[in-house]
């Protein structure tokens, strides 16, 4: 998991989608997700995927990071499809749904700092849940760093060797045990800091407005169009299925435009 790189992309990015309103991005994400849920048409799903690739390209997301993260759910969906899909086409659709939903989620999290993503959730769940959500994200960085250091220390002391799997497993388990103890000391330190800073059972987060309302409106319109297309092709499948290839035209045009724009920006 590349949480450090995810946070860097979300915080330091300056593209049009980075500066869009977090609420707009969350709504657009929900609409695209609904489109993926509704559709059982391979070409409509392919269109959604191409559209998301265009957005990722214009947002100048690191392709290695974005697509490897999005491929992760697709990999597991592939296992599920292999185990349960009745035919290859249905299996492909299951994988495609996972890829679309995964890339939508990844685009959101790579362009929006985590406090802004969690802020709406924090407002509807009990205080302890919302606050713990923020603490979890922060602690994950610290623990990943510590775990990486522990593994390096073990490797340097020859605890991890290809020829000694049992010894390596034992060393890794002890590293995880050490990490567990470290994490509890970390929670005690956090508790002390929160008490000193006068924590009153609520960590407050704010939601900034979008830099350009027109871009927010464009993002919402594109997501709405995606959902509408998905619904129309689902409702009128009997008539529209032979013309499904038409759905690909607009996303392909968007992809070409995105590629040209990003090349010019370089």
């Amino acid at each position: 998991m590349h949480i450090g790189a995810v946070d860097e992309s979300a915080t330091l990015g300056r593209s049009w989608i980075h500066t869009a309103s977090p609420i707009t991005k969350l709504v657009a994400f929900a609409l695209v997700l609904a489109a993926a849920v509704v559709s059982w048409n391979l070409l409509v799903l392919a269109g959604l995927l191409i559209l998301l690739v265009s957005v990722a390209t214009t947002a100048r997301l690191k392709p290695g990071l974005a697509y490897s993260l999005a491929a992760y759910p697709a990999l597991f969906a592939g296992v599920f499809a292999f185990a349960s899909a009745p035919n290859v086409l249905t299996g492909l659709i299951i994988v495609m749904k996972a890829a679309v939903a995964g890339l939508a989620a990844v685009t959101l999290i790579l362009t929006t700092p985590y406090p802004q993503v969690f802020a709406p959730v924090q407002r509807i769940v009990p205080g302890i849940v919302g606050d713990a959500l923020l603490m979890t994200y922060r602690s994950t960085f610290l623990l990943l760093d510590k775990f990486s250091n522990l593994l390096t220390a073990i490797r340097l002391r020859s605890g991890l060797r290809g020829g000694h799997p049992l010894r390596s497993a034992r060393a890794t388990s002890q590293a995880l045990g050490g990490l567990l103890l470290y994490s509890f000391d970390l929670s005690q330190r956090d508790y002390d800091i929160m008490r000193l800073r006068g924590y009153q059972d609520r960590l407050k987060t704010s939601l900034p407005r979008g830099a350009t309302p027109a871009r927010d409106a464009f993002l919402l319109a594109a997501a709405l169009l995606a959902l509408a297309t998905s619904i129309v092709w689902r409702l009128g499948a009997a008539v529209l299925n032979p013309y499904s290839w038409l759905v690909l035209l607009l996303p392909l045009a968007a992809l070409i435009a995105a590629a040209l724009t990003s090349r010019r920006a370089l």
Partner: protein
Amino acid sequence: MSHIHIPDGVLPLWLWGLGWLVTLVLVGAAGKLAERHDMRRKVPLLGVTAALMLVAMSSEIIPIAYHVNLTVVAGILLGPVLSIVAAFIVELILALLGHGGVTVIGLNTLIVAAEMIIGWTLFRTFVALLSRKRAGVAAGMSTVITLAITTTALVGIVWLGGSAATARETGALDPADLSFTNPFTEGVFSVGLFSGGEADAPSAPADSTQSAASESNSLSVKRFAAVVYTLGPLGWLFEALITAAIVRYVTRVRPTLIFSGALAEKERRIPGDEAGGL
């Protein structure tokens, strides 16, 4: 088998919607219960435990599509109420990182929370039966039994969703000859945007050809169960060995954490070489 690695839109609305509803009620109730006492201490504890699970889940064993979860360890440390909250937090963050669907966050939370609570209960029972000296064995046994139970719950969910996630229009592409034609031209459609049960529609004529087509298009729960129960035990065993080793290690260094839970420790600890000279 902590997560349902089923993509968004495969399970029917009633199933994942019900999962979300039950989860929100449980998380709300658990949150209110947890807020009653010593909340300032619970927030960072929940944060680091959930983060620990996330770190463990970042190590994946590709050939068997399995990753360590540490759900039983986290359950032992947090107890049942905080486990529900931690499970929800972990699943929400994982879904946002593309690891697991957003619509199945509810069902995922229920499965992970069940894993943590069953693990906690079994561990306490086994420790009472075997003695504290065998905490590692107790943790390993608890993990295997817990994962077997939750894997069965996962198969049950696929079985519940299987009949609804059947025989939908799969688009213009015909899998038989890869031609762009409508594969369902016999009038089997009825509109069901989220239910997806076109072939199961009551208005559709229920002749034998159609029911055969419906059967051939439905998710194969038997095949899914066969794959899960074949690969799963490898993962259960691996998770049990890791869990047992961690619990044995922590029991030697700081037994209160394991036997009384993370909130039982009141004395201050000075951070040092927690890895025990690794």
